[in-house]
Amino acid sequence: MLEKIISYEIKRSIARKKVLVIIAITVIFEVGTYVALSQVKSQALLSIIQPLKSVLWIAGALLPQSLLLHFIAISIASGSLSEEYEQGTVDFFLTKPLSRLSFATGKFLGGYILFIAVYGLMLTISLVMSFLLFGDQTGLNYIPALFFLVIFSSLTFYSIAYMLGEIIRRSNLAFLAASSILIGSLLIEAVLIFVSRLTDDLLFQQIAIVLPSWGATELPFLLASHIPNASLIVEAVEVFPIIAGTQLEAYLYTISYSVSAVFVAFFSFLKRDIPKKIS
């Protein structure tokens, strides 16, 4: 039964204009990045890019990780349940031999599989473009681990948006609320790091690590910094300043935020009444 809801959710998400726009942005973003890099004429910039040519696939793989990918996750997850309430289609499913738990699980997994596919598309484009425009690439053995960490770390905001979609039951409000948490958390993180560097007090950095944005944005960078010759690219594509945390901490906080959000969302969906169409 779960697979029927998963395939329905993937089909539903693709049918939404919002998701189609996201996919279009993804393609433009990835292709544009590489075309821009290949068109650099300045000698100063060329002297930086030249030694990095063999690992430029990392740029396309990690650039969306700081912000775009989380917005994509939020966009998919915030509408997952809330749009069913808004369209009044929850009744259709819950008056079938299907438990609320199966429905909520199918919706969560369906959206997440679509998200993985979108990131898969991004990674594929970055590999194809870097090969086409910059020749052979190295460090490709890191791809599976990096792919896993990117999709795993995105669970934090995917789960938070899914939870807010269920609690608020309005897709636009849920999207706004989840995006605000992401942006707010990133800004607070940046301020805390700035204060920490200013005061030489590590306590501010430790607080920053606990914020939901840290594990979500940092985890793949912690791995990518170990790829030979890639440290400069990693620094360049990381929009927000690096905090010296461990991969274990990043795993721990990602799991904590994701599990808590999913638990609240499922508890709410299982225990609350299903209203008539919310308009």
Partner: protein
């Protein structure tokens, strides 16, 4: 087949259902009547396991719709102004429903035919008119020949031809042993279709019985007589104790009886040599319904 026992539900301070108990145990067509906000839809949604009651219990074919979801294989449901996934076609909606109910997908064609939607099956729901959505929703509810069909205001936004079609389909389903329950504001629909009605007011069941009894209890039986001597009809009628009122309207005598004693009344008119050209009965369900609501509201005020 549907048992609702002592069910109560509140929305904040407002009581939506107040110890409602209803039993629908025969394969008949049941109508749930009541003004807006009376609790009809809440009652259906509790019965379908969509809304949790604060108190009480619901059983469909002996099983709880909250715990035993397998029972939904035997339930068809038509929402008020049905909401179906707009990006799917009518055929895809039926196929999805068939997959969820564990019914072979090829059977959907039969149901598309039944509701006259075979030619529009490939169109997206978003492109359908209200009537077309209603037809698909009906086909979806009938899929797999469920033993219980629940319909919330099935006549909203439908044209008379579709209403006749829905009525015919439902009568067929009742004959083949399905129990049908519908909420409606259309009293004409109730009169033509329902075998039993439940009148709900302020979250309470105020009346349960057949539609004719509702008329007899809250209005009485209205007899319309065409006569060459209407004054004489009135004179005879006034001498009978069971006649509540008489009036002449458009040359016809309208006699209101407190109880169904039509035969006795006609016999008296003939014995007294009163001219009777035409004699008909008008079961004014609408008037009875209004009277019933007035009594219900008095009752609620008294109890409060």
């Amino acid at each position: 087949m549907i048992e609702i026992v002592n069910v109560s539900k509140r929305y904040g301070e407002r009581i939506a259902l107040d110890s409602v108990s209803i039993t629908m145990d025969k394969p008949l067509i049941y109508g749930i009547l009541g003004p807006n906000g009376a609790g009809k839809t809440t009652l259906l949604r509790v019965a379908l396991g969509l809304i949790y009651p604060e108190m009480g219990e619901v059983r469909i074919m002996g099983k709880s719709p909250f715990k035993e979801k397998g029972i939904f294989k035997e339930i068809g449901y038509v929402q008020e102004l049905p909401n179906l996934p707009p990006f799917l076609s009518g055929e895809e909606v039926l196929k999805l429903s068939a997959r969820l109910k564990g019914i072979p997908e090829f059977s959907v064609n039969e149901y598309l035919d039944l509701v006259g939607m075979s030619n529009h099956a490939k169109k997206k729901i978003a492109k359908y008119s209200k009537g077309m959505v209603q037809r698909i929703a009906l086909a979806e509810a009938l899929l797999g020949d469920p033993k219980v069909i629940v319909m919330d205001e099935p006549n909203i936004g439908t044209d008379p031809a579709l209403n006749v079609h829905i009525r015919d389909v439902l009568r067929e389903k009742r004959k083949s042993g399905s129990l049908i329950v519908m909420t409606t504001h259309e009293l004409e629909e109730v009169r033509k279709l329902c075998n039993r009605v439940f009148l709900i007011f302020a979250g309470r069941v105020f009346y349960a019985g057949d539609p004719e009894d509702l008329v007899a209890r809250f209005l009485g039986l209205r007899v319309i007589i065409t006569s060459r001597t209407p004054e004489k009809v009135i004179e005879v009628a006034k001498g009978l104790g069971f006649i509540k009122s008489t009036e002449i309207r458009d040359g016809k005598v309208i006699v209101l009886m407190g109880e169904d004693r039509r035969e006795e009344f006609l016999k008296t008119l003939i014995e007294d040599n009163v001219s009777v050209i035409d004699y008909s009965t008008d079961l004014s369900l609408e008037d009875a319904y209004i009277n019933a609501l007035i009594e219900a509201s008095k009752d609620v005020r008294k109890n409060n």
